[in-house]
């Protein structure tokens, strides 16, 4: 799950929680899912250093991302 998808899902969950028609179990399930998304998003944001990489393609068309030596 990407950060973008996590944020979109959180948006949708928040919108549904605002809907008072939810039963309690449904609300809790959404909440639990939301927590999982929050964890994923936070993990993505924990990175503190950009890794500069280079795309390499082998002869048979397989791509590999390797560290770019400065």
């Amino acid at each position: 799950m990407t950060f973008e998808k996590s944020m979109a899902r959180l948006e949708a969950i928040a919108a549904r929680l605002e809907d008072e028609e939810l039963d309690l179990d449904g609300a809790l399930a959404l909440f639990e899912e939301g927590i999982a998304e929050l964890r994923a998003a936070s993990a993505f944001l924990a990175t503190a250093e950009t890794r500069l990489k280079q795309l390499n393609e082998s002869a048979n068309g397989v791509f590999k991302v390797t560290d770019l030596r400065a």
Partner: protein, 446 residues
């Protein structure tokens, strides 16, 4: 002797006899061409031979030279006498032949010279000139033997006011426009939260360093992946197309930035190449072009989903600020916890309302429902990212279940619940700050 003619003005009239004089060809030492031409096959007279008309080529009907020998020798002489040079004049009778060569005349006053630009020599000429255009053309003066005409073989061209470059841009632009590639509706939104950005540029250029620095400052969680390409020189268009093709097949990037730092117009020219523009238009990944400085506008800028004035600006447009993202995540956590708590409270109220109107037998059942609600509320609190109980924080609640947010709401002897990660403890307040002193207490601490 050759020394006699070297450096002589090219306009000097050359007699046939001189042409075939045994002296070295009238060729400048710098000239790269070799003198071996058919005319040289005519054996020069032996130096000790008497000066006889029958022996000297062209000196008598018996010694007449062939037309081919004459034109070839004339060509040798002209090419030897003139180094490649710039000539200024007005273009007329321009014709682009099917075989890729261009033919035209350069004129001024009453003079004109026939010109040709061979297809292999045209790479450095941005666009064909129009009739009437004032240009300077660089080339070699020579003879076209098939017509016996003097001809100027052109390899570079500059028009007044950048006319050729402007024309080349307009032609490319018109072709792309005709194919709908410049339609604003084609432009895709740049993803707001990219994980990986592919950067098509030179490995050693300033662009990559600038982009990396901006991403590091704004959002280090985003990975920058170089897809190396030549960004100037004759191989640049092909190299850029290849890199775009790689990005398209890889599909590992959320955004692709294509560009380079500033440079001379010729250095930026690859980004005006039609092939590059079409490859960029076909790229399935949303693209940002960043070519040169703010004033430089390229064809790639027109085709890309977003045009950035510089590589740094492209990086700014591509990545969000990480601190702002963290803030947004925190807001979502708050919203989520708040809304869910509302749902629980709503359920509580509903159950209470029903219980008041029910006979005792039914109330027991409702009580079970109430216990369900409380267990949900308990789990909610245990999971709440706000509470962050796992890090050692606790929530302080009144016995009624309200969170205590300020010490000023407390009285001595008040009974409270401390909610830990793994359970709830009941406590009694022993001291409270006097109303005048005391800091504005942080929430929940007791």
């Amino acid at each position: 002797m050759s020394g006699r003619r070297r450096g002589g003005p090219p306009s000097q009239s050359l007699g046939e006899l001189e042409l075939f004089a045994p002296a070295a060809p009238p060729r400048r030492a710098e000239s790269p061409r070799t003198p071996s031409r058919s005319a040289r096959q005519v054996p020069p007279p032996e130096p000790r031979e008497p000066y006889v008309e029958e022996v000297v080529p062209g000196a008598s009907p018996a010694a007449a030279v062939s037309v081919m020998a004459l034109t070839a020798t004339a060509r040798d002489v002209l090419e030897g006498a003139f180094l490649p040079l710039w000539v200024r004049g007005e273009v007329s009778d321009f014709k682009a032949h099917r075989n890729g060569h261009w033919y035209f005349c350069l004129r001024d006053g009453d003079a004109q010279i026939r010109c040709v630009a061979w297809s292999r020599d045209r790479r450095r000429i941005p666009a064909p000139p129009d009739d009437g255009m004032q240009i300077a053309a660089f080339g070699q003066l020579t003879v076209y033997p098939a017509r016996g005409e003097m001809q100027f073989s052109v390899s570079r061209m500059e028009a007044e006011g950048d006319g050729l470059y402007r024309k080349a841009l307009e032609l490319t632009r018109a072709r792309l426009e005709a194919d709908g590639l410049l339609d604003p509706r084609r432009k895709r939104a740049i993803p707001r939260y990219p994980r990986r950005i592919a950067v098509i540029t030179s490995r050693d250029g300033a662009a990559l360093r600038d982009i990396h620095a901006v991403v590091q400052r704004r959002c280090p969680a985003v990975q920058v992946v170089l897809v190396p390409a030549a960004v100037q020189g004759e191989s640049a268009p092909e190299s850029l197309c290849y890199a775009l093709d790689q990005v398209a097949r890889w599909r590992g990037a959320d955004i692709v930035i294509i560009g380079r730092g500033g440079g001379a117009r010729e250095d930026l020219w690859a980004f005006n190449d039609e092939r590059v523009a079409r490859a960029l238009a076909e790229c399935p990944i949303p693209s940002i072009s960043a070519v040169g400085h703010e004033i430089d506008m390229s064809i790639c800028d027109l085709v890309a989903d977003l045009r950035a004035p510089t590589p740094s600006a492209a990086a700014e447009a591509a990545v969000p600020v990480q601190a702002e993202l963290r803030e947004r995540v925190r807001e979502y956590a708050n919203v989520l916890a708040g809304l869910t708590a509302d749902q629980v409270a709503h359920a509580r109220v509903a159950v209470d309302a029903v219980a008041q109107r029910m006979p005792a037998a039914v109330v027991r059942q409702i009580d079970r429902r109430r216990i369900d609600i409380e267990s949900v509320a308990g789990r909610l609190n245990a999971m709440s990212p706000l509470a962050t109980l796992e890090r050692g924080y606790t929530i302080t609640r009144s016995r009624e279940g309200k969170t205590v947010r300020s010490v000023r709401t407390l009285e001595r002897g008040a009974e409270l619940d401390l909610v830990f990660r793994d359970g709830v403890a009941g406590v009694t307040v022993e001291r409270v700050p006097t109303p005048s002193s005391g800091s504005p207490a942080s929430e929940g601490e007791s």
